[in-house]
């Protein structure tokens, strides 16, 4: 049985549909990411799962039980906010105890549960400190311990890494992943950062304008985007989209190679590009160009290995090749992928 099932959920704010018919089903123990830019409805969806908002239409089931109309107090869902929302006037210990006291957990179990949570997160030394005296990474660990301590059915993370410094973020991401795997609690993770979503999630859903564009594993999303939105959203730099009549051709930057490296027996697409800019990225070059003789002056990006020999120079016109299996086609008007 799925831990979380979202069935055709809609949420209107006035006439505006923030969430417009979403279906999600998580698998046992997975980390499921909701990826979308701001205003895509991902946070509203998460708040509905937590019970902070009620859906205008549709149903939300946790372990098979409908929770529509159930207050957050009566759902066993833990949430970690972007701000961590630690209670500043309480010590770390009292912060972690708060959900236990609020949920009337018998007093005899408090100490054992707190010890368990802090040992998993390694924050034994912080117990008597105030949240204001903690670093960003420590705050996250305390917030996670507070979420973990009451044995929730479902974890909700709302951009938990965005408040951290870039250096700390990588470590915190690994810790988060590790924690989730060890506890095996099904987790929904909201983020606008595709690096986080692709790196952390077992599966993810890309949201745009209140709808889900595609659901799948990170590899599926990257290799075969279902529509133009996902194609242009996932990948850094994203897929090159080149209009050909009624169709749009999509090619990843790393799938374009110099024409002279083209294997003999492979068919595919050849593009003639005028080079506008070459960026050295360390292990590779990013080559920006536009199609020679085309009226669409859309930039095309090519990844060229550093060890690849000759480097294109600015102003050159060069030919690039992509094999047939690496080229995806989309319908121009609907945006959907063509078979």
């Amino acid at each position: 049985m799925a831990v979380l099932r979202v069935e055709n959920v809609k949420k209107y704010f006035g006439k505006l549909a923030a969430v417009d018919g979403v279906n999600i089903e998580t698998r046992e123990g997975e980390l499921f990411a909701l990826l979308g830019s701001s205003g895509s409805g991902k946070t509203t969806l998460m708040r509905m799962i937590a019970g902070l908002e009620q859906p205008s239409e549709g149903d939300i089931l946790i372990n098979g039980r409908s929770v529509v109309g159930v207050s957050p107090q009566h759902r066993n869902v833990a949430m970690v906010f972007q701000s961590y929302a630690l209670y500043p006037h309480m010590s770390v210990r009292d912060n972690i105890l708060f959900p236990l006291k609020s949920r009337n957990v018998p007093k005899e179990q408090w100490e054992q549960k707190v010890q368990w949570a802090i040992s998993i997160l390694g924050i034994e030394a912080l117990l008597d400190r105030r949240p204001t005296k903690l670093s960003g990474g420590e705050k996250q660990r305390v917030a996670l311990a507070r979420a973990l301590v009451r044995d929730p059915e479902l974890f909700l993370f709302d951009e938990p890494l965005s408040a951290l410094d870039a250096q700390v973020r990588n470590i915190a991401r690994a810790e988060l992943r590790d924690l989730q795997k060890r506890t095996g609690i099904t987790t929904v993770y909201v983020t606008h950062d595709q690096v986080e979503a692709l790196g952390l999630a077992d599966r993810l859903a890309v949201m745009s304008k209140g709808r889900i564009s595609q659901v799948g594993t990170p590899q599926e999303m990257y290799e075969s985007p279902a529509n133009l939105f996902v194609a242009s959203f996932i990948g850094n730099p994203p897929m090159n989209l080149i209009t050909r009549g009624e169709r749009v051709m999509g090619i990843r930057p790393e799938h374009l190679m110099l024409q002279r490296n083209k294997p003999a027996d492979v068919t595919g697409v050849t593009l003639s590009l005028r080079i506008l800019l070459v960026e050295f990225m360390g292990s590779e070059y990013l080559v920006y160009g536009c199609e020679e003789g085309s009226e669409h002056q859309r930039q095309i990006v090519v990844r060229v290995e550093h060890s690849g020999g000759t480097v294109p120079g600015q102003g050159d016109v060069m030919e690039f090749f992509a094999s047939k299996q690496d080229v995806k086609y989309f319908d121009k008007s609907s945006g959907n992928r063509l078979p």
Partner: protein, 311 residues
């Protein structure tokens, strides 16, 4: 021959020390003239035997005025009432302002109208308010009495006996209760606005987190909201205490300290003795008796305000 290196005199405006004093002087003159001088005079008066007829402060009598105060039953009543009225007003204000700010923190229809009605007592002139309250609490024509009679609490067979009037301003405890009621009515708008400002500065995430952690309304109120409001509440309450303790308008307009001296308070008693009664020295002594109490409260309020600013 002219020396080109002559130091040009620094312009007045560029001399920070002098300019500073020049700009501070209006405030300093005001404080010295309207607060400092009367204050020193009051101290001198309280140690003299000056009267309105003979206002010289040359005859110093030492602590005689203070000693005689302690033997006056009216003074002791006034001291007791001042403290009682201040505490009751503050306690009721604290509870009501917290409840109202909780109400105003949520969105509902007609909230704007509710807010406007709420602020009205603060905008109303004291004299106008006093007339309205004198009518509401009138011994013969009180609408409150009339309503209580209509619903069967007053009048023959009623809960509070056969009488049709409670004589709010004519009975000891009811007179004090009336003063407290009017005080609360006057100060509630300001108190609510202060508490509401503190309430709205708490991040919404914290309330959402508490709900998800499983806390109900009262746990959130007592464990999350009120602790977060504590610094604001303490400072607001201490400053309000200064206002209530030193204010005589409510009593002067409503009960005139009556019945007898049952609702007498220190500032009004100082006024009655010193100005109405002509005993300048005695009145000054009463007024100065409030000084240590007000000073302690004021120092506490300022220290807490500064400390919460640093935190």
């Amino acid at each position: 021959m002219m020396n080109d290196n002559t130091v040009k005199p620094v312009h007045f405006v560029d001399q920070d020390r002098r300019l500073g004093w020049a700009m501070l002087s209006p405030a300093v003159i005001y404080i010295v003239g309207f607060i400092g001088v009367p204050f020193v005079l009051a101290i001198l008066l309280s140690f003299s035997n000056a009267t309105v007829g003979n206002p010289r402060i040359t005859d110093l009598v030492g602590f005689a005025n203070y000693v005689s105060l302690l033997h006056q039953p009216i003074f002791m009543t006034a001291l007791k009432n001042s403290i009682l009225i201040t505490f009751l007003t503050l306690g009721i204000l604290l509870v009501l302002a917290t409840i109202l700010s909780e109400l105003l923190a949520i969105e509902f229809r007609y909230k704007k109208i509710f807010q406007t009605l709420l602020i009205l007592p603060w905008a109303m002139p004291v004299s106008l308010a006093a007339i309205a309250w004198l009518w509401l609490l009138d011994s013969q024509f009180s609408p409150i009495d009339w309503m209580l009679t209509q619903i069967g609490i007053l009048g023959p067979g009623g809960l509070l006996g056969p009488v049709r009037h409670l004589y709010y301003l004519g009975r000891d405890m009811l007179a004090i209760a009336s003063v407290v009621t009017v005080n609360v009515w006057r100060l509630l708008p300001l108190a609510t606005v202060i508490v509401l400002a503190g309430r709205l500065s708490i991040p919404q995430d914290r309330f959402d987190q508490a709900k998800i952690d499983g806390a109900g309304f009262f746990r959130i109120l007592f464990r999350i909201t009120i602790p977060a409001l504590m610094p604001v509440l303490t400072v607001a309450m201490l400053f309000t205490a200064l206002v209530v303790f030193g204010d005589m308008t409510t009593v002067a307009l409503l009960t005139r300290g009556g019945p007898g001296h049952a609702s007498q308070i220190l500032p009004y008693w100082a006024f009655l003795q010193g100005i109405q009664g002509g005993d300048l020295a005695g009145g000054a002594a009463v007024a100065l008796f409030m000084l240590p109490i007000l000073l302690v409260v004021a120092i506490l309020a300022l220290r807490i305000a500064y400390r919460s600013q640093e935190a």
